[in-house]
């Protein structure tokens, strides 16, 4: 898995985990993310499938129920921790930007 086993998250990884803070079908994530980001971020169906599998293997999310072909997922404590860390990293970048640009 890239990025040294989720030490940093790509935009798509971040938003998938964010969506799964509430129990959600995998399929619904494809619509939720564009809505959440005002169509700035779109996740490909293949990418979503691959990331859900890998998040599950790493214990960042868990499967909550299966209805036919539809499966729903929810983030785990480990996933929450990772999301929080990524949020902190992004905030730090924003603060650095504001501090640096403010000086100019």
């Amino acid at each position: 898995m890239p990025r040294m086993k989720f030490q940093t998250l790509t935009e798509q990884m971040f938003y998938i985990l964010l969506c799964l803070r509430q129990e959600c079908y995998g399929l619904d994530i494809l619509d939720k993310i564009p809505t959440m980001t005002e169509h700035r971020v779109k996740v490909g169906s293949g990418t979503l499938y691959t990331l859900l599998e890998q998040f599950r293997e790493e214990g960042l999310i868990r499967e909550t129920k299966v209805e036919g072909r539809r499966r729903s997922y929810l983030i785990t404590d480990q996933g929450e921790e990772l999301l929080k860390r990524e949020y902190g990293r992004i905030l730090a970048q924003v603060e650095d930007y504001q501090r640096f640009c403010g000086k100019e």
């Binding site: 890239p2 990025r3 990884m13 995998g26 996740v43 490909g44 169906s45 990418t47 979503l48 691959t50």
Partner: protein, 469 residues
């Protein structure tokens, strides 16, 4: 009008962009992909349309599981949400098409795509390359060790010399491809993280793959021919090819049968592995049996015996090969018919020629003398010292530092009569043997006579005239 066609594709199955562009071009011409092969693709006639294609490398593919399965169904469900329709399922390679040319791509995260490409490469080529590299290096190590022990036999054999070159080429090719991929992976990960773009896998290597396959086939063939004469070696080689084809078809049938019956991927894989192991054991036994019965030391034997005689119930083969030097030429004896003239080894490579010949009486109890001669014609100057050392080693036995005075050693003698640069004579203690090492400009001769009488100057001159020119 034709409803189906088969097309030869010259690009690798790891070249996604090429595959997608090709499929789009075919769709515009009214052809839809029906079956994907590694070199030939099958298309069926359809309505001409402008379609968008996507090639997805499916990491969770299990070639042994019934298709479609749960994991694949979930992927299809996601793809259908964005209008992507699956048109071909070959396990690891999934192909989709979409009528909406502006649809969200199937893969949008470059980092994920790079990992999928890496995973696919490891499963499809990486394992095979590593196995080939380790096998070839092991074999090369063995060959180098054997050359160190028997340089004359090995380096004069054209098959073995060619095999060595091929094995070195195979090792170099495998190493280059593995390193090339490692460099690609490192660069691709950096590019995906920094630029959010995907660096394509190095492509165009299918030709090298075909060349590599032919080189492996050549190595196997030459190793077979090195122990069998050519006509028997061809029988074994054809038998090997047929056996491999039969096992490949049977395995494919067995896997497909397992999928149709709905048995689990694990059981199907186990069953297929079992079939493969049993086949390898059977092949190994058949191959060994064939070599024992058909192998006659091919390159080691230059000729067939003209007759076989029983000496005290022990069979003795009689040969009538043409030898450069005979006892008749030296002793003037006319004993035609009571000697066997055998050219045991007659090898020639670009490095050296190596001959071993024996003239011996057909009746071992007779009082007739015998001659045993090895001739090395050195074609590369740097080989001379190696060949000389080897012949000296063959003539003497090293008894180590605690050896007594009574041991075998080579004594330099007057080379004038022999017309040679140097001549050594084997001594056992004070006992001078009729065994000599003659060193000419480009030729080395090890000669032994089972004869008590000392050689005369005339006989030395005759030998010098035969080998010294």
């Amino acid at each position: 009008m034709k409803e189906t066609k088969k097309c030869f594709v010259g690009f690798s199955l790891s070249d996604q962009e090429c595959m997608e562009a090709y499929l789009e071009e075919q769709a515009e011409q009214g052809w839809m992909l029906e079956k994907l092969g590694s070199m030939f693709w099958q298309f069926r006639r359809t309505e001409s349309k402008k379609l968008r294609f996507a090639v997805l490398y499916f990491a969770n593919a299990d070639e042994y599981q019934p298709q479609p399965n749960e994991t694949l169904n979930e992927l299809y469900m996601f793809c259908e949400h964005d209008g992507w329709v699956p048109i071909n399922n070959t396990g690891r390679i999934q192909i989709f098409c979409n009528e909406d040319t502006e649809a969200t791509p199937i893969e949008t995260d470059p980092a994920v795509k790079v990992e999928l490409l890496n995973h696919m490469w490891k499963k499809s080529k990486g394992f095979g390359l590593w196995l080939a590299l380790l096998t070839v290096l092991f074999q090369l190590g063995l060959d180098v060790w054997m050359i160190g022990n028997m340089p004359l036999n090995r380096l004069s054999n054209p098959y073995m010399v060619t095999v060595l070159w091929l094995e070195i080429l195979i090792a170099v090719y495998a190493t280059v491809v593995i390193l090339q991929h490692a460099v690609w992976y490192r660069k691709a990960r950096r590019k995906a993280n920094e630029e959010q773009a995907v660096l394509p896998l190095p492509s165009g290597d299918w030709m090298f793959g075909v060349g590599w396959f032919l080189a492996m086939l050549a190595v196997i063939s030459l190793r077979i021919f090195s122990v069998c004469r050519i006509h028997r070696g061809i029988v074994i080689l054809l038998g090997t090819c047929l056996f491999i084809c039969a096992i490949a078809f049977f395995l494919q049938y067995a896997i497909a049968h397992g999928k149709r019956k709905g048995i689990s991927g694990r059981k199907n894989r186990g069953r297929s592995t079992g079939i493969l192991v049993v086949s390898c054991v059977i092949y190994g036994l058949l191959f060994g049996f064939a070599l024992v019965t058909l192998g006659d030391g091919g390159y080691l034997r230059s000729s067939e015996p003209i007759a076989t005689r029983e000496n005290d119930a022990v069979p003795f083969d009689i040969y009538r090969d043409k030898l450069p030097l005979t006892l008749e030429a030296l002793w003037g004896e006319n004993v035609n018919g009571e000697y066997s003239y055998e050219m045991r080894i007659d090898n020639s490579s670009f490095l050296l020629d190596y001959q071993t010949m024996v003239q011996q009486p057909c009746d071992p109890k007779s009082s007739l003398s015998s001659m045993n001669c090895s001739v090395v014609k050195v074609k590369k100057v740097w080989m001379y010292g190696i060949c000389e050392q080897q012949l000296k080693k063959e003539m003497t036995h090293d008894y180590g530092e605690d050896a007594e005075e009574d041991f075998e050693r080579l004594l330099a003698v007057d080379a004038t009569a022999w017309n040679a640069k140097k001549v050594y004579r084997l001594c056992h203690g004070d006992d001078m043997r009729n065994e000599f090492l003659l060193c000419y400009d480009r030729c080395l001769v090890k000669i032994r006579f089972e004869e008590d009488a000392e050689l005369t100057e005339k006989q030395m001159r005759i030998i010098g005239e035969v080998f010294g020119k």
